[in-house]
């Protein structure tokens, strides 16, 4: 709508309103209240039409409402007798002129009704979603205008209550629906923001589409992706898109495919595309963070596995190297002592002493190797390894359950170190009479290691020992829980994912 037309329409509307106010000014007016209500109907069409035309320039609805409003007021805002005039300055004439005018208005109204109905039928066939809903005022106003012309246009005569009371109310629905449409468009903008805020982090493009579709009330809304080579877009089902599209910034060629009715709301489409862009960017960033987190987790798991492998290698090296040599040395010293026996008591005692030193060195080396990596874990899995820990525990410990199956090395090592560290803590700090070890599959995919004692409790999870153990459990994706109320014993539970 250009500026001159807008000015002309505004001037016409202002004149009509002024005329109406002047005409209905009580000291001058000879209007009945029902006639005032008819004038209000006409003015409402005029104002709503101009506003709609301004808001939705591409729509014919605003134009039609404006025309109806301008035709209405000349016909029905007249004073019949003494007041100045209606907008076209007709209507102060004789009764026959007034009747003629009424008949003409009725015929014009019928023509408008015909035009509107034709437009409705044509558009309704092709429209969907927003387009159809945008036509609701049309649906209402077309029969209403027709009915009005029939009822008041001098073609028929109906009771005054129907003609002057019910009909204005019926006709007011058209402009009111326009207002509702406007409010709905604004509400959609607000709902859009809410939908984006409520969208869970990292939501898939499918969920984003659903949220946008709900917010806009456009069930046909789709996300589509640019075809390789830039030749059009494909929707999520791989079908070529032939509807209205709006590019989503920073999405690598993704577009919004929306109902053509939304073209009446270009700002809303832009807002939707911007919201989609932000949501997709958020999803992308979320995915990036998730991927980086996964990389860190995998890296930590690899570091722990590499550490375990290195410990196994070190234990094997000690076993194959230093321990073998000490064994041979110990045996040789034993043989030398036997041969020296009786011949040289001093030499015999010296060799015996050397043999003892060699055996003690061997014992210490075995303990060292076991601390580096328990061979029994490699040899027998958790069953034998936990049994060995329980047997060596200074505090009486019992095994409630241990699965008789092998798990991945990292899982076995983690479970073993949990039991080992827990039993060591029981011996050092708990002042307990006994401890219990339970390892079982709590549900598919989880291995739960539990060590409890009847000691003094009060263990601090933030202490370096338990914190290190928690890190170890976390390295395989598990969680360590410590329940240690003062005086109530300690219960340590590692919940570890396992195949």
């Amino acid at each position: 709508m250009n500026r001159a037309l807008r000015a002309a329409l505004a001037a016409g509307a202002t004149a009509a309103v002024g005329c109406f106010v002047w005409s209905s000014w009580l000291p001058n007016s000879q209007y009945a209240p029902v006639e005032i209500s008819f004038a209000v109907v006409g003015l409402s069409f005029m104002v709503a039409g101009i506003a709609a035309w301004q808001r939705w320039p591409a729509s014919r609805l605003g134009l039609l409402f404006t025309i109806i409003g301008y035709l209405w007021n000349p016909a029905f805002s007249g004073c019949n007798a003494s007041c100045p005039a209606n907008v076209l300055l007709i209507g102060n004439g004789s009764r026959s002129a007034w009747n003629t005018l009424g008949t003409i208005a009725a015929l014009v109204g019928l023509v408008i009704t015909g035009i509107v109905l034709t437009l409705i039928v044509r558009h309704w066939r092709s429209a969907r979603g927003w387009s159809r809903r945008a036509m609701i005022p049309l649906l209402w106003i077309a029969p209403a205008v027709g009915a009005e012309n029939i009822l008041t246009g001098s073609l028929f005569h109906f009771p005054a209550l129907v003609t002057y009371a019910l009909l204005p109310l019926l006709l007011l629905a058209g402009p009111v629906l326009f207002v509702i449409s406007t409010v709905r468009a604004r509400t959609a903008g607000g709902a859009l923001g809410t939908a984006i805020v409520d969208l869970e982090p990292g939501a898939s493009p499918g969920r984003l589409r659903d949220a946008l579709a709900r917010a806009l009330g456009d069930s046909t809304l789709q996300l589509a992706f640019q075809q390789p080579g830039g030749a059009g877009h494909l929707d999520t089902l791989g079908q070529a898109v032939d509807r209205s599209v709006a590019p989503i910034a920073g999405s690598g060629g993704t577009v919004l495919v929306y109902d053509e009715g939304l073209e009446l709301e270009p700002q809303l489409v832009k807002l939707t595309a911007a919201a989609a862009s932000m949501a997709l960017e958020h999803t992308r960033l979320q995915a990036e963070v998730q991927a980086q987190l996964e990389q860190v987790r995998a890296s930590r798991a690899r570091l722990v596995e590499a550490g375990d492998a290195e410990r196994r290698r070190l234990e094997r090296d000690l076993h194959d190297g230093a321990q073998q040599r000490l064994v041979t040395l110990s045996l040789a010293l034993g043989m030398a002592r036997d041969r020296a026996a009786g011949a040289d008591p001093e030499l015999e005692a010296l060799i015996d002493s050397a043999g003892k030193e060699a055996r003690e060195a061997l014992t210490e080396l075995r303990e060292l190797a076991r601390g580096i990596h328990p061979a029994v874990l490699t040899e027998t899995g958790l069953t034998g390894a936990v049994q060995a820990l329980v047997e060596r525990s200074p505090v009486a410990a019992t095994i409630t359950a241990v699965p008789d199956e092998r798990f991945p090395a990292a899982i076995e090592a983690t479970a073993y170190f949990v039991v080992s560290e827990a039993l060591a803590n029981v011996a050092k700090h708990a002042m307990a009479d006994g401890a219990q070890v339970t390892i079982r599959r709590r549900r598919p995919g989880r291995l739960v290691v539990e060590v409890s004692d009847d000691g003094a409790g009060g263990a601090r999870p933030e202490g370096s020992g338990l914190r290190g153990l928690a890190d170890r459990v976390a390295s395989v994706g598990g969680v360590l829980r410590v329940d240690s109320p003062p005086g109530g014993g300690t219960r340590l539970e590692a919940d570890i994912p396992c195949p």
Binding site: D320, T328, A332, L362, R366, A369, A385
Partner: protein, 127 residues
């Protein structure tokens, strides 16, 4: 001809085998050596030793597997598992194997082996 004085030492450590041979031959045993599980099963078939001193850690099969194969032979030898580690490092695998027992390497002696032979049921480890 199976003899209680014939010992088969199975160990991949040359130094240990050599020293054990000296020690056991000094104690009156006849010693044969094998460095792998495959060699052990072959030597047991040809030499028919009365006792096999079997290291658990071997390069091809572990000692438990070799013990299972040797035990399958008719009138099989007394099998004594050995290692530089302790018996507890192998949990129940030792008691559930067909071996007569476990002897830590640093406690090897002719007397210790004779005790295993003496405990062996009649027909096992003897002609």
């Amino acid at each position: 001809m199976q003899s209680s004085a014939a010992i088969l030492i199975v160990d991949d450590h040359d130094g240990f085998r050599a020293f054990a041979r000296v020690m056991l031959e000094a104690d009156g045993f006849t010693v044969t050596e094998a460095a792998t599980g495959a060699e052990a099963t072959e030597a047991a078939r040809t030499v028919r030793p009365g006792l096999v001193l079997l290291d658990i850690g071997l390069p091809d099969f572990d000692g438990f597997e070799v013990a299972r194969r040797l035990a399958g032979q008719a009138g099989g030898p007394v099998i004594v598992l050995t290692s530089t580690r302790e018996a507890s490092d192998y949990g129940a695998r030792i008691t559930s194997s067909p071996a007569a027992g476990f002897l830590p390497k640093d406690q090897l002696s002719g007397a210790a082996l004779r005790r295993f032979l003496a405990r062996a049921p009649t027909g096992e480890g003897r002609t």
